[in-house]
Symmetry: C2
Subunit: 199 residues, 2 copies
DNA sequence: ACCAACGTGGTACGTTCGTATCACAAAGAG
DNA sequence: CTCTTTGTGATACGAACGTACCACGTTGGT
């Protein structure tokens, strides 16, 4: 049976299983055995490809961030061939809202990781600063571009707007997740905010 | 030794211990024995006053929400004798930001509960809808009041503004918690947003 | 003064967790 | 054709967890 196997691919499959279980039962309740069962492999294999649970969690977080990046990129591409800054910004912000099962998973698991990273030092590492910072940078650039095109009233602080919008989007996402708000009303709030900034 | 004891008071003490441990090591890592040690009582007593861990968690969440309500109320009172709507709104929103150790605890543990409530049905019960909804209602009322006093430009949607600001505050709080943003810059973002709404 | 209920301690039980160990089959290298 | 490496299974181990059980001193009611 033991053909030579691609480690990276196998690790990805197992990490995907981890994310599925985490989405279903919560990240705190995920055990090595659950991941193994979900991936359809033995416990030993999970141990083999990720020596320790911590490394599995780390890889899973990385994977989650990567997948989300692709999701946002796809959304932006779907916004059209030459989308204006407003359309791109709206696509980015609404992509982060938990509207379908995939984005629900992302939001829930990512938030779980964020909570873990506060008390677990080794998990606090890269992605919780790098990833949102990148989104912030992109948003700032889009605002600057919109400003030069005269689409928004001049003199507004691109950085403050970008940070505020991202925080608002994240907060709305959480309230959707816990069932307090509908995705539609959250999108309306974001749209309202953008309406005030643009034109 | 067994004097007749006030159950409510004892339960409160134990719940406070739970919150302290949760703040230090994360809610997911809290065990009954940890709570007992932190409260300075035996494991048996924790079992005695809360028969099960689930009930302890539920009570702890209630306690956390109560304490936060008091905190916000104190902040609003501290804003002055006859604070304008703007000052009250700003007090409410900044009270939710994790600036000191107490509010850090609140934000972290509350977020942990929120994450748990998504997958744990019994925990999803009351406070995650009731509490934010109350804040939303208060904010809406303040906006209406400000509108009637002519402090803000007419025709703005009080509900959309309230929801957006609360979400922004929550999102900023999380980014402070994970170390991405400083409390000062988060407060500046909120202030900027309020500046645009008022007058 | 007795008796039932209350408050408290100690400890044991069954389960689950992450990790380690042992064994072995298949495949590439020489 | 051997031999070392790689992949995989089964299982064992020690710790920690939530909970249950048993014993005992104290208190208030009658």
């Amino acid at each position: 049976m033991p053909k030579r196997v691609d480690h990276t691919e196998r690790r990805t499959e197992i990490a995907e299983a981890l994310l599925r279980v985490a989405a279903r039962r919560g990240l705190h309740a995920v055990g090595m055995r659950d991941v193994a069962a979900e991936a359809g492999v033995s416990l030993r294999l999970v141990q083999y490809y990720f020596e320790t649970k911590e490394k599995l969690l780390l890889f899973g977080l990385q994977q989650l961030a990567d997948r989300f990046g692709e999701r946002v990129a796809a959304r932006v591409r779907a916004a059209g061939d030459h989308p204006g800054p407003r359309a791109m910004i709206e696509a980015m912000l609404t992509a982060a809202l938990p509207t379908d099962e995939d984005s629900r998973t992302f939001h829930l698991v990512y938030t779980s990781y964020a909570v873990l990273s506060v008390t677990d030092e080794v998990l606090a590492a890269q992605p919780f600063i790098a990833n949102p910072d990148a989104a912030e940078g992109t948003l700032v650039a889009l605002f600057r571009q919109a400003e030069e095109s005269g689409l928004i009233r001049p003199g507004l602080d691109a950085h403050l707007e970008a940070v505020g919008l991202l925080a608002m989007s994240a907060g709305l996402g959480t309230s959707i997740l816990v069932g307090q708000r509908s995705p539609e009303s959250a999108a309306a709030v974001l749209k309202h905010q953008l309406d005030r900034i643009f034109q």
